[in-house]
Amino acid sequence: MARIRFDNVTKYYGNVLAVDKLNLDIRDKEFVVLLGPSGCGKTTTLNMIAGLEELSEGDIWFDDEIVNFMPPHKRDVAMVFQSYALYPHKSVYENIAFGLAMRKYPKAEIDKRVRDAAARLHIDHLLDRRPNQLSGGQRQRVALGRAMVRQPAVFLMDEPLSNLDAALRVSMRAEIKELHQTMQTTFVYVTHDQAEALTLADRIVVMKDGIVQQLGAPDEIYEQPRNMFVASFLGNPPINYLEGELVASNGRMAFRRGGLTLSLNSEASAKLSGQEERKAILGIRPEDVDDRNEPVEGGAIHGHVNFVMPIGSDQFLNMKLEGEELFFRVGKETRHRNGEEVTLAANLDRLHLFDPETEKSLLWD
């Protein structure tokens, strides 16, 4: 049972601002991912939940208690570290059991939990080993197990997968997801990997320079980025940007840059009506086009293919248009080749527009 509330939480290191006026309400049993580049304050935030970092201002609430000054060992939280932080002098068994032992659980209970966890993580054959006799993947599982057995009110993970190789990482994601299902407790998960965030999270908190950029469900974050940072931080290859201006063309608002004109869908143009001549940046995700070779009303993107990158399922086009290089993803029906001219149809419902100054989205707030 744990709902975590940040109430105007600010954290300074010396006079360096790490987290600025953070307001965040994590629901019980929710899986929240803190996403952002390194130094964005996500780990600090996690540590403040754990009690490992002292907050400079504001309050953190666990349910209806302020825990600002409650030391970690008094909080019912468990944590998985990027470095695993296993106790080198303890066996795997002792490592996993330690947290329970410290909380004076009866021997039998400890043993049961440890063995269950070990079985679940397929490390039951390693229980007598010392950490330095384990592979990285195994250590990672031990670290997970150590946190699992605690069955804590809050389950914290600090980039737990970033030291694993690609294959392992993907499979572990699934396990963590499943873990959350079964454990029925609040998860807070820190990562800089947008894919992880999108797959795991109920809600994602995108942070930058200690400030929350956007908070919402994965799809929302992905499809309605509030600003250019969020837009470009999620999605791979990243969203394309084109600077241009808003114009009115046959009763609708449209984005124009040189020869390229993309007219906005009804709600967007309604929102922006009367803002002709306004400078704007167009954001369009690589996958939001579609190549058929007949022109589309108000959605035609015509350009010159620099090169083609097939990726099996589909192909990427690196295109030159209006002096910018853009990336698009298209199906494999028509084979494109380097140097040819193509026309793609933009998915007009999925265009993003941003203010060049504030970088804020013109469409969603």
Binding site: E54, N68, F69, M70, P71
Partner: protein, 305 residues
Amino acid sequence: MTRLLPARLADALARRFNYDTRSAMLFIAPVMTVLAVVAVFPIAYSLYLSFFKLKLTRPHRVPFVWFDNYIDLLGDGLFWSSVGRTVYFSVISVTAIAVLAMLIALLLNETFRGRRILSAILLIPWAIPTVANGLMWKWIYDSGYGALNGLLLQLGWIDKYLIWLGDPDKTIPLIANAFVWKEVPLATILILVTMKSIPADLYRAAKVDGANVMQRFVHITLPSLKPGFALVAIYETMMAIRHFDLFFILTEGGPGEASHVSAWHVYAETFRNLSFGTGSALAYMMAIVTFVLAYFIIRTLGRRI
């Protein structure tokens, strides 16, 4: 529950004395208590003395003279030459100690039969009481019937007995040698301990990358030893700068003024001349220099220690 303190104040207090700070204070309290009881007064007291023209043979004339003692010293030629000798002594000693200690540590870091016995043996010089050590060397160096002359002669490296401590050019190096001989074991332990904290994976990785032993030494061992060297540098510098016993036992500052180092100067001022004021002043100058050195070493080599 009822708050006895006004909320804001209580909150401020809680922030100031949070759990970590409290435990830290609790953990540091014992050391600080010990130092407060034993160490603080002497330090303050000798600072206090350093501001008086205190000459014990004139108990009734003890004027407060501000920094005169310090100024007088700065004007004293013997003071400066003694500083020079101290620097000379400290530099050669600390360097020798660091190098030897590292070599021995490397040796003990290998695994071979009899390593444990060897490491116990290598501790022996450390275990000989300073006085015995001093007298031992005094008598080894003796130019009349000392073992050093005897040995060198039998090896045919010299054709007649030489003067050792009696030769002003040799005095300080010889004393340094006696000092180094006794100090090396501690330095070795410190470096060895640091060596042991280097994760083996590092070496394995390096080997995989095909680094040969020399490269491994230069690129892994040496850098990882920095904290160890920091400890050794700090401790041995302190010890060398203040070292007194061997000078007292071996030469009493002689021959001439060949071994009249700063520590000896302090002694002479304090106990020979009974001018405690000057002695304390000099001690304080040495203290400041030592502190600056240590600070510098910590900043460059150590993490924080």
